[in-house]
Amino acid sequence: MTMKKFAIELTDIDKRFGAVHANNKVCLQVTEGNIHGIIGENGAGKSTLMSILYGFYQADAGQIDVLGNTYTFTDSHHAIAAGIGMVHQHFMLVENFTVLENVILGTEGGELLAHGLAAARKELTRLGEEYGLKVDLDATIDTLSVGLQQRVEILKALYKGAKILILDEPTGVLTPQETVELFRIFSALKQQGVTIMLITHKLREIMSITDQVSVMRAGQMVAHRNTCDTDREELAELMVGRKVLLSVDKGAANVRAPLMRVSRLTVVDSQGVERLKDVSFELRAGEVLGVAGVSGNGQTELLEALAGIIPITQGHIEVLGMEMDNKHPLTPDILRGLGLAHVPEDRHRMGLITDFSASESALLGYHTDANINSGVWLSKAKVDANCQQLMQAFDVRPADPQLKSANFSGGNQQKLILGREMERNPEVLLIGQPTRGVDIGAIEFIHQRIIAMRDAGKAVLLVSVELEEIMSVSDRIIVLCDGAISGRINAEDADERTLGMMMANALDPIDPLQAMNDAKSSSNRTVQELDL
């Protein structure tokens, strides 16, 4: 193999959003004609980096070289002109336009469309044949499957002359079969000399398709590896990172009867993607059940399904003496009435109403409580007193119930939500990412409160992407991978390596690579051999 030059070279890219250091002196070199994976957890800075590369944001400092030339992108048009094409996680297509019309959008080539359309049709047919990207050019987008829509996005990028393709979580919305097809296209593109950057947090895909992989964590590039020199376990470790294990003071669990029984829970979202697959577990009084997994593997859906926010597609849930399934949903207010509290993963989107005062946010979900309502009157005095008390108990600073929720720091917002959900002494507590963006002192406090609830005989379900949090707080751990439970383990038997293995899921029932090889042997398509 001859020495290849770099398609992309990023040097010391730095970007801050207020107090958040999204990219901290990030360096990256992508060899021309390779498939380069970039992995990292949500919020690690991958998307920011790609947005800088594509001209959406401008770096505070650093240098961008594309195919040997230094550029300053202030607009995505500059990036496109330099030969970069981007396929976003959420497609940027006009639903009621045809494929052809979508592709020429922005490059119509004149006042009248006919000429541009004819030229585009010719070029697209050629591209389609060259890369095996077959799409009906006259079909409207809304009649195409998600996989085909993605193919249109790729065609669009290639049509605009992209030599480097960036794909952000391309398989997140695809079925396994569509994933296999996508990887086949990647191979064909690679053969034609196109450089591909694949952003994902799915380790299995990284291992099966990439040549090199770079790992981001907390805004920094922490490692570069040749894919053949690494393994899933190492990558998982690099991604999650080793931090000082916060010791949590806790005695043995006094486990009692199950308070929640989840049987064969399956959730399909509105786009038809299966987010949870056949998940079954029990949650018992007096224990903390940890749910581990790389984020985006069904944890959000699990929490929301258990809390009655999203509908269950199949299976049923028994909770505190009531049952719910597809036909008989229980709404969040009924579940709260039963004694189920929920600290959502995303405090800004769901946990509080940022425009409301703290005392009003501290009321969310409990605004119909009898003790603050007298007849029609919602007693403001009682609401404020309730918030004041909660702020004291959970050390929310500043302890001002009238302050707008948005004006509290992340940690204090989180304590406000935890206080709201915990102070009413629920029987079952669902907690998502309790310490995300929370400082060390508050983390300790939050962990103590969780343990205190467990010791009081309550059942706690803890969803977290922080492995050490899962290991130190939970009594038992289940691991979610791609919506299914890929491992169950007692906390005392768990270590990061084992959990990492489970999170990467060595036992994945549908192995894209295997399926791909099957497809290859059963058809006469030319699929390039993959580096492993």
Binding site: G18, A19, A307, I309, T331, P332, D333, I334, L335, R336, H342, P344, R349, M350, G351, L352, I353, T354, D355, F356, E360, L363, L364, G365, Y366, H367, T368, N373, V376, W377, L378, K380, P398, D400, K404, N407, F408, S409
Partner: protein, 373 residues
Amino acid sequence: MNRENRITWINRLLLPVLNVLTAFAVTAVVFWLIDVNPLEAAEILLYGAFGYEEGIGYTIYYTTNFIFTGLAVAVAFHAGLFNIGGEGQAYIGGLGAGLAIFMLDPTLGAWLFIPASIIGALLFGALWALIPAYLQAYRGSHIVITTIMFNFLAASLMVYLMVHVLREMGQMTPQSELFPTNAWMPFVHDVAAGMGYSIEASPLNLSVLLALVCAVAVWFFLWQTRWGYAIRATGKNSTAAVYGGIKPKRVIIVAMCISGALAGLVSINELVGYQHRLVMDFHLGYGFGGIAVALMGRNHPVGIIVAALLFGTLYQGGAELAFEMSGVSRDIVVVMQGLVILFCGALEYMYRPWLIRTLAPVTQQTSAAGVTV
């Protein structure tokens, strides 16, 4: 005063005042262009609106209509809905009030007629908003589209009913027969005369009290009850509302019905209070004016009363202006209203960045802490 408070005051007070002044300044330029002395015009306008008792009566009478429709828009707005169907809801509310009156025995007392007509207006106004609300909540049809279509439907329906069903026997004009005098909302000048004060006659009637009661009730409902909480939570963040056990579909229905009912009350002021019969097009302009009033009043009852007074003043003073000055037609009111809407609505935040930079600059301290205490 800390920065947060300053920004609050800039938003609440300074911005609306500056916007209105800008609108007036541009109006002055318009006057100057059509060879009218702006100062003279302003004098006539103000005298027409506030210079004598009858003028004041008219001003408050118009203000009453704007309070009803402004509140209507605000309630829907707090639920995240843009109800631009105030016109139709007011119109159909009039039908409700009229039918309630005609169905009752004309010999009954006012104590029965007036509540009945109010209930009729509330119910019919709510009903006219209920259908778009249902379509939004359960069928996903956009409320802006459906409410504006319902304005046209209301207009057509009323033309049909007024011409074919409700027209007074033997009359050519499409209007109903007079309401029995028992059903009339008392005029303020009559009430005053009853108490021994003598003021000039004007259309001003006791509906203005009803409007003020509604303003207080809306404030109480939105900020002091669990239902108001549910409405505001849905409007601000419907995801969080669902998490909190609130059902956005129901909230849409409730908020729109209240909104429609409030708009329906315009007919109490116009028909039960002044015209004393069902007439065509009594509602024109108030429904849309209510949008501007709510925008200017920041969707708060106090702000709405102030903004409604401004619009009432423009209505009455503008009419006076058209009457007094030969070069000015009544359309000048529409121009002034349009400019107020333009600067208070569309260009609402024009001065904001500048005001915040000069009056509430970010200090090193506040930006570093992120929270101002």
